[in-house]
Amino acid sequence: MSLLTPAHPRRLAALVAATATALLLTACAATSPGNADADPEATTPVSTTRTITHELGETEIDGDPERVVALEFSFVQALDALGVEPVGIADDDEADRIEQLLGKPIEYDSVGTRLEPNLELVSSLDPDLIIADLTRHTAIVEQLEQIAPTIVLNSWEGSYQDIKDSVVTIADALGDRSEGEDVVSEHEARVAELAAQIPEGEDRRFLLAVATPDAMTLHTSSAFTGSVFETLGLTPAITADEALESGVGIERLLDVDPDVLFVATDGPGTVFETWQTNSAWASMAAAADGAIFEVDRNQWARFRGLQTAELIAEEIVQNVVGER
C-alpha cells in the first residue's frame, strides 16, 4: 500500500488546482460579464466537451488533452502522425522498440509492458487521456478511468481498417478530428500508389507467420497484415474471422500451403530454422518457388500502424512482386 501513496497527493493537488482555476474563471466571468459577451471565441475551447465513441462505449473529454498515455504501439504511431508525443508508453520496457517504431528517439516515460501496464506509473504521469487496447486492457479499464478519461480501441486483434479508424478516433479525442481524417487519406493515397505497382492478375496466396521457439502463429485475413494484403489487392492464404491461429505445427502450415510466405522472427532460435531442414518443407508452394522471406517481427506483427502498413506494402512491392 505504501507504494500507492505518492500518487494521491499529486492527484489531490491536481484536483485542488482544477477547482481553484474553475472558481477563478467563474469569478472573472462574474466580475466582467461584458467581456465574455464580447469575445465568446476565447472561452469556447476551454469548455468544449466532446463525446468520443470507442470500443467500450462513450467517453467525455474536456478540452484538448496534452498528456497522453499510449498502451499499444499502434497508438504511439497514430499520435506521432498527429504531432503529439505521448508522455507515457507501455513499451514492454524496451525503449529501442519505440525508436524503431517512430524512426526517431522521443522523450517519454515507460509505464511497463503492454500485457500488464503499471497503473502506478500511469497515474504518476498525471495524464489527461489514456488510449488502451480492447483485448489486453478491458479488464483494467475501470482503474484507468479513475486516473484519466480512457478510450479503448482494437489494436491487438485490429484489422487495417480498425487501425485507420483508430487514428481518426484518437484525433477526435485530441480535439481535431479533421486532422486525423487528413492523415488517413494521405496515407491511403501513398498505399494506393504502391498497390498500383502490383501487376494485374497477381493471384498468389500470401501468408504472414510469426515463428517462436516452439510453434508458429498464422495471421489470417482478419489480422492487420492480412487486411493490408487485401488492400494491396493480394489474396491472404487464410480467410477467417479469427485474426490469429496460434500453436501451429509444421503440418498445419503445409496444409495452408501459401504461395508467398513471410516469416516474422525476433532473431535466431525459432522453429523457422528447424522446419526448413524437414523434407516436407520443400513440398510447400512458397518453398518450391523461393518465395519465403524472413521479416522483422516488430514491423510486421507488433506495431500495426499506418507507417507500418506502408513499410509492409513497400517491402512487398520491392521484394516480392518486383522480382517477377
Binding site: 521457439p213 516452439d214 509444421i250 498445419r252 530454422e273 531442414t277 524437414n278 516436407a280
Partner: protein, 334 residues
C-alpha cells in the same frame, strides 16, 4: 502396495501385460499417424510409410507424423522409468521427475540458457541435464536425511516445482516472451522432428539399458541400506547410479518435449498393480506402458479441439492430478 494378490499366475500375467502394452503402444502410434490437419487418411499414411517413392504425402508421414509418434514413445518410456527409479531410490511412492521438481529444474535451466544464447539448439539438453541434476541432488539430500516423511518429501518436491515454475514465468515476463513458448512449457511433442528424436533416443536407450542391466541391484534400493549392504551391495554407489539415470532420462525428455507431468508418477503405479512386486518386470512394464500412455494422451490432445492442437502435457495433467491425490491420501494412511 498389493503384495498378496499376485501369487498365482503372475509370471504369465506380467508377460501378457508387457507384451500387450508394447503392442498397444505400436497400435496407438500407428493410429496417430492418421491424425493431422492435412487430412491424410490412415490408410494413405500407412501406404506412404511402406512406399519409398518421394512425395509430399510421404514427407508428411515420415518426417512430420512419424518422428512425433516416436518422440512421444521415447518421452513416455523415459519419464516412466525415471519415475520408477525415483520411487525406488527414495522409497517414496509419490516420487517422480515432476513431483520432485526435476522437470522444473530442467525447464528453468533451458529457459535461462535459450534467453542467454537463442541459437543454442540441441545444446539446450546440456543445460537441462544441469538443471535436472541440481534439483535431483537437492531432493536426494533431503530424502537421505530421513528427517522428512514420505508425504513431507513429496510436498517439498512440489514446493520446489512450484517455485521453479514461478521462476520460469518471472524470467519469461521479464523477457516479454510469455506467449512464445506456451506449448513447450505445458509439455508437448507438437513440434517434434527427427533431430529431437536423435537427442532423446541415446539418453532413453542408455538409461533403460543401465536400469535393466542393474535391475537386481536397483531392486534392493527399496530395502533399507543396512539390509542391502548385508546382501553384498554398495548402497551408496547403486543409489548414485539410479539418481544419475533419473536425471539423464528426465532432463533429456524435458529438453525435447517440455516438462510433461504425471507420466513418471502414474505409470510405475499402474505397472506395479499389473505385474506385481518384482522390480525387473515393473521396469519392463514401465518401458511398455509409458509410451502407451503418452501416445494416447497426444492423440487426445490432437482431437480435443481439432484441428487446433492442445499440448499433450495438459492432457496428462488432467489425467494425473486426481491420481496423485489418491496416492497421497493412500500414502498418508499407510
Amino acid at each position: 502396495m498389493p503384495r498378496t494378490v499376485h501369487d498365482r499366475p503372475r509370471h504369465v500375467g506380467a508377460v501378457a501385460v508387457i507384451v500387450g502394452g508394447a503392442l498397444a503402444s505400436v497400435v496407438v502410434g500407428l493410429l496417430s499417424l492418421g491424425i493431422g490437419p492435412t487430412g491424410i487418411s490412415w490408410s494413405d499414411s500407412l501406404t506412404a510409410l511402406l512406399s519409398d517413392e518421394p512425395s509430399r504425402l510421404r514427407s508428411l508421414v515420415i518426417d512430420v507424423r512419424l518422428p512425433r509418434a516416436v518422440l512421444a514413445a521415447l518421452v513416455g518410456a523415459s519419464l516412466a522409468v525415471a519415475g520408477l527409479l525415483a520411487q525406488a531410490l527414495t522409497r517414496n511412492p509419490l516420487a517422480s521427475p515432476q513431483t520432485f521438481g526435476i522437470n522444473a529444474g530442467a525447464a528453468v535451466a533451458i529457459v535461462l540458457a535459450t534467453i542467454a544464447f537463442p541459437s543454442l539448439g540441441a545444446l539446450g539438453t546440456v543445460a537441462a541435464l544441469i538443471g535436472a541434476g541440481t534439483v535431483g541432488a537437492l531432493m536426494w539430500f533431503l530424502s537421505t536425511t530421513g528427517a522428512v516423511t514420505v508425504v513431507g518429501l513429496a510436498l517439498a518436491g512440489m514446493t520446489v516445482q512450484i517455485v521453479l515454475s514461478a521462476l520460469v514465468q518471472a524470467i519469461l515476463i521479464m523477457n516479454n516472451s510469455t506467449q512464445d513458448i506456451v506449448f513447450w512449457l505445458a509439455g508437448s511433442v507438437t513440434g517434434a522432428d527427427w533431430s529431437d528424436v536423435a537427442v532423446l533416443a541415446p539418453a532413453t536407450a542408455a538409461g533403460c539399458a543401465v536400469a535393466l542391466l542393474g535391475a537386481r541391484s536397483f531392486a534392493l534400493l527399496t530395502l533399507d541400506a543396512f539390509t542391502a549392504a548385508s546382501l553384498g551391495q554398495h548402497p551408496a554407489r547403486v543409489a548414485g547410479a539410479a539418481a544419475v539415470i533419473v536425471v539423464v532420462l528426465a532432463g533429456a525428455a524435458v529438453a525435447v518435449a517440455g516438462p510433461i507431468g504425471f507420466i513418471g508418477l502414474i505409470v510405475p503405479h499402474i505397472a506395479r498393480r499389473l505385474v506385481g512386486a518384482r522390480f525387473l518386470t515393473q521396469l519392463l512394464a514401465c518401458i511398455a506402458l509409458g509410451p502407451l500412455l503418452l501416445l494416447a494422451a497426444d492423440v487426445l490432445a490432437r482431437l480435443v479441439a481439432f484441428p487446433t492442437e492442445t499440448p499433450a502435457g495438459i492432457v496428462t495433467a488432467l489425467l494425473g492430478a486426481p491420481v496423485f491425490l489418491i496416492l497421497a491420501i493412500r500414502a498418508r494412511r499407510a
